[in-house]
């Protein structure tokens, strides 16, 4: 018995030793913070905080660490940042950008034209996996070869001197300077970020690798396993001095936990929180924000049965009371119901003919289709039904189709890969958003309905209307001040309307997702905090609002 007891004691000691291994490794992440500290909840921990991802939740905080070439302020006006001056030649094929004299990295070294060129070349390389680089740089001569991994440098980027870079485009683009006013392609210290093969160095953007940044805050600590990022003031920031002393970004996936943390004032802001009771839980100010140039719609595939038949699409659209659908999905806002594709930008068509809610006409259209009646239709499948609001909208649509047209077979899932087998490639309805990061109608429509867009190719099943393509291509070459630019774009949008390709849903408001005590937390169409140096915490208000919670 004694022997057995000794063995059990040894085993117990072993277990305790094992259990203590990680205590010191993980360390305590709780410490008292002094000064102005902004605590942000982040919903996902991808472990990748490279500024060159181009998609995902992490990029929404790029402006904290990285100075963009230029940026749009809250009035939609472009402002100098890394670049202080820019100009295009007469036909807008060659653009020259000058780096601000005082633009420096956090180690005090100047941001050079070599850094800009190297950063942009690196963004385009396939190994970098930047998903939105084409929105900014696809017009640069040599883009295709670098994007396919054939070469390392774009021949269209030429360093004129240490502060000047010249960009040659393959075709005229009057708004090229607007397209690069984004935090998605910030200049970085290229000697830190790129290896000898022209590819991105793993985790070059971490403090342990001595990263230097250009934005108002610099990383102090990045615990990529726990998903906790600590940023402090960049002492060499070339813009106004930041008001915050520290920013702590913490990964909390569970929405209920996140809501509790915000209510109790343990956290101040969230990257993107979507719950049906958000307004009741956190107040209207939390979700309020600026309207984005971005719309969510239900897109029909033009090459999958039965939505490849225009009469079926007509029937499906006219059977839905679109305004009612919006009210059900967002009874408390903050978004606005959609009609046409574009919103917010100059050129929104005042004469755009909205799709009618007309059950009789819907039934007639279905009868006129090659299917004749609902019984002959294959199952209708939705994707993009990823939030409770989208579920409500999609269920309302399905119910309207059942009541008006007698359609029984519908299915809805969050993602395309949620469907298995052949169904995955037969989906007819995609709920997704389109928009623009520059205040330009042509850019908006090029990304939504032009046949080269991801939306036309992916969500609308290879949708192609030669007239629309020609009109938009013609419009894109016109100068921003030329009225024909907008007229051509409006014409393209009307033609698209007559193709009955979408059920309008809503225009998105970029919620601040910040508690009322977080001041100057404005965001732009680039999904960035516009001027992070101006953000501060009203401690008195915070104490008052969280007292007793």
């Amino acid at each position: 018995m004694k022997k057995h007891l000794i063995m059990l004691t040894i085993l117990l000691c072993l277990a305790l030793m094992l259990s203590s291994i990680g205590i010191f490794a993980a360390g305590s992440q709780e410490e008292a913070e002094g000064g102005q500290v902004l605590r942000i909840i982040h919903p996902r921990n991808s472990g990748n905080w490279s500024p060159f991802i181009g998609a995902g939740h992490e990029i929404r905080w790029n402006s904290l660490q990285w100075a963009s070439p230029m940026y749009f302020d809250k009035n939609g006006k472009i402002q100098p940042y890394v670049f202080s001056e820019w100009s295009g030649n007469a036909d807008n094929t060659v653009w020259t950008f000058t780096i601000a004299e005082n633009a420096v990295f956090s180690d005090g070294s100047p941001i050079t034209a070599e850094d800009v060129k190297g950063s942009w070349d690196l963004c385009v390389r396939p190994s970098t996996q930047h998903l939105r680089v084409d929105l900014s740089l696809s017009g640069v001569v040599g883009y295709d070869k670098v994007s396919l991994g054939e070469t390392i440098e774009m021949s269209g980027l030429v360093i004129k001197d240490s502060r000047t870079i010249e960009v040659t485009l393959s075709k005229p683009d009057p708004i090229f300077y607007q397209k690069i006013a984004t935090a998605l392609i910030p200049p970085v210290k290229i000697s830190q970020a790129r290896d000898s093969n022209g590819d991105q160095i793993t985790e070059w953007w971490t403090p342990k690798n001595g990263v230097v940044v250009s934005g108002p805050f610099m990383p102090q600590d990045m615990d990529l396993d726990s998903g906790i990022i600590t940023l402090v003031k960049n002492p060499n920031f070339f813009g106004p001095e930041p008001k915050l002393d520290k920013i702590i970004i913490t990964t909390v996936k569970d929405e209920q936990t996140a809501t509790l943390l915000l209510q109790r004032g343990e956290m101040d802001a969230h990257t993107e929180l979507m719950t049906t009771t958000m307004i009741q839980d956190l107040g209207k100010e939390f979700v309020d924000g600026a309207m984005l140039a971005k719309g969510h719609h239900f897109w029909f595939s033009s090459n999958k049965p039965p939505t490849d038949d225009i009469n079926v699409r007509k029937a499906l659209i006219m059977a839905v009371d679109i305004k009612k659908m919006f009210e059900i999905a967002f009874p408390n806002g903050p978004h606005q119901p959609a009609t046409q594709i574009v919103n917010k930008v100059k050129g929104v068509d005042p004469d755009y003919k909205e799709y009618p809610y007309d059950p009789e006409a819907a039934r007639a259209a279905l009868a006129a289709s090659s299917y004749g009646n609902a019984a002959n239709l294959p199952k209708l499948m939705f994707v993009g039904i990823s939030t409770p609001s989208h579920e409500l909208a999609a269920q309302y649509i399905a119910e309207q189709w059942r009541q008006v047209l007698g359609i029984e077979g519908t299915e809805m899932k969050p993602q395309q890969d949620s469907y298995q087998g052949p169904d995955q490639m037969q989906i007819q309805i995609f709920r997704d958003d389109v928009g623009t990061r520059v205040p330009d109608m042509v850019s908006y429509l090029m990304g939504a309905i032009h046949s080269s867009s991801g939306n036309a190719q992916g969500k609308m099943g290879g949708y192609h209307n030669a007239k629309i393509d020609a009109l938009l291509e013609e419009a894109s070459a016109k100068s921003v001040d030329d009225p024909a630019r907008i007229a051509l774009a409006q014409k393209a949008q009307r033609i698209f309307r007559d193709d009955w390709q979408y059920i309008p849903y809503y225009y998105e408001t970029m919620s601040k997702w910040a508690m009322p005590w977080v001041l100057n937390f404005d965001k732009n169409d680039d999904w960035q905090v516009i001027e992070p140096w101006a953000v501060s915490i009203d401690e008195e208000l915070k104490a008052k609002m969280t007292n007793g919670k």
Binding site: L16, Q129, G149, D199, V252, D254, G458
Partner: protein, 318 residues
């Protein structure tokens, strides 16, 4: 005993190879690679350029055939290299090295808690057989067994944090001895505790009718002494034999629990990697998971004979 351990280890190798192959095939042919997934899920403004996607896949080494990729994976695994994450590019080994101790600490703490309290409750229930206390404990055990952690976790959090307001919001990992760990540990322990309560209760009920217990009582030995000295050992044997099943149960629950409470353990890592089809991470977790289960079962096999020597003689007979 050593022959037995060696035999178990040898049997484990082909099993884990088959499991890895099946999981690799499921991820490869099911969800597809992470780059394809990114574009399948991409918002409308991300252009679908088939040539560029192919170039990205080539840069990540994903354009090679299934068997070539799997064989390369095994070669690296043989050298103790789990490879790099396809999503973040980070070393999978270092990711697991950080996550595993956290889950291990949670698991061991929860294991100790549920064993001590589960056994005690089972003993109390058995000593009060068919009385109200027995009914309450047995009812409690049945109730907690039926409630999944994704229900009990948020409910208990609302109750303790919002309704009672007696604890800080439990999220993240702040070390094992931080008060924020109490609730997640409790939730992790509570479901398998039902198993221990029932095992301890039924084992003790059997022991209670044994002759040597009656003899001890007739000698006038105090009840507490009888329980501790004469009853606990036979009660612990079935309890220990359940630890393998409990460990699997806790590993499964860790996936949900760590997501709810934002604990950066292997469960959280599993959710992230499965969502993004990051198969080097998924495979490493499968490998680690199967190793843990094997080790726990081995440990149970080693400990059991100390508690009940009859089990060794049974094994030798077989």
């Amino acid at each position: 005993m050593w022959k037995y351990i060696g035999d178990r280890l040898l049997r484990w190798i082909p099993t884990v190879l088959v499991v890895l192959f099946v999981v690799y095939a499921l991820v490869f042919f099911g969800a597809g690679d992470p780059i394809k997934l990114i574009f399948l899920r991409a918002p409308g403004d991300i252009a679908y350029n088939a040539e560029r996607i192919e170039a990205m896949r080539e840069a990540a080494g994903l354009n090679r055939s299934f068997l070539v990729q799997f064989w390369n994976y095994l070669l690296h695994l043989g050298q103790g290299d789990f490879g790099n994450s396809l999503v973040s590019g980070r070393s999978v080994g270092s990711m697991i090295a950080k996550a595993f101790p956290i889950t291990l600490q949670m698991g061991l703490a929860a294991g100790a808690f549920l064993t001590i309290f589960g056994t005690a409750l089972g003993v109390i229930a058995a000593l009060n057989h068919n009385r109200w206390l027995d009914n309450v404990i047995s009812g409690f055990a049945m109730g907690i067994w039926g409630v999944p952690v994704f229900v009990s976790g948020p409910l208990l959090m609302i109750f303790f944090v919002k309704v009672l307001g007696i604890m800080a919001v439990p999220y993240g990992w702040h070390g094992l001895f931080n008060s924020r760990v109490i609730l997640p540990m409790l939730v992790l322990a509570i479901t398998p505790m039902a198993l221990i309560i029932r095992q301890a209760r039924s084992a003790l009920l059997q022991v209670l009718s044994e002759d040597y217990i009656r003899t001890a009582r007739s000698k006038g030995i105090p009840n507490i002494q009888i329980v501790v000295r004469h009853m606990m050992r036979p009660v612990l044997s079935p309890v220990v034999s359940q630890l393998g099943i409990i460990m699997i149960n806790m590993l499964n629950n860790a996936v949900l629990l760590e997501t709810v409470f934002g604990i950066p353990g292997v469960g959280n890592l599993a959710v992230e990697s499965i969502t993004s089809s990051d198969y080097p991470v998924i495979l490493a977790l499968v490998f680690i998971g199967s190793t843990v289960v094997l080790m726990v079962n081995l440990l149970v096999d080693i400990v059991l004979p100390f508690l009940d020597p009859r089990s060794l003689s049974k094994k030798e007979t077989v």
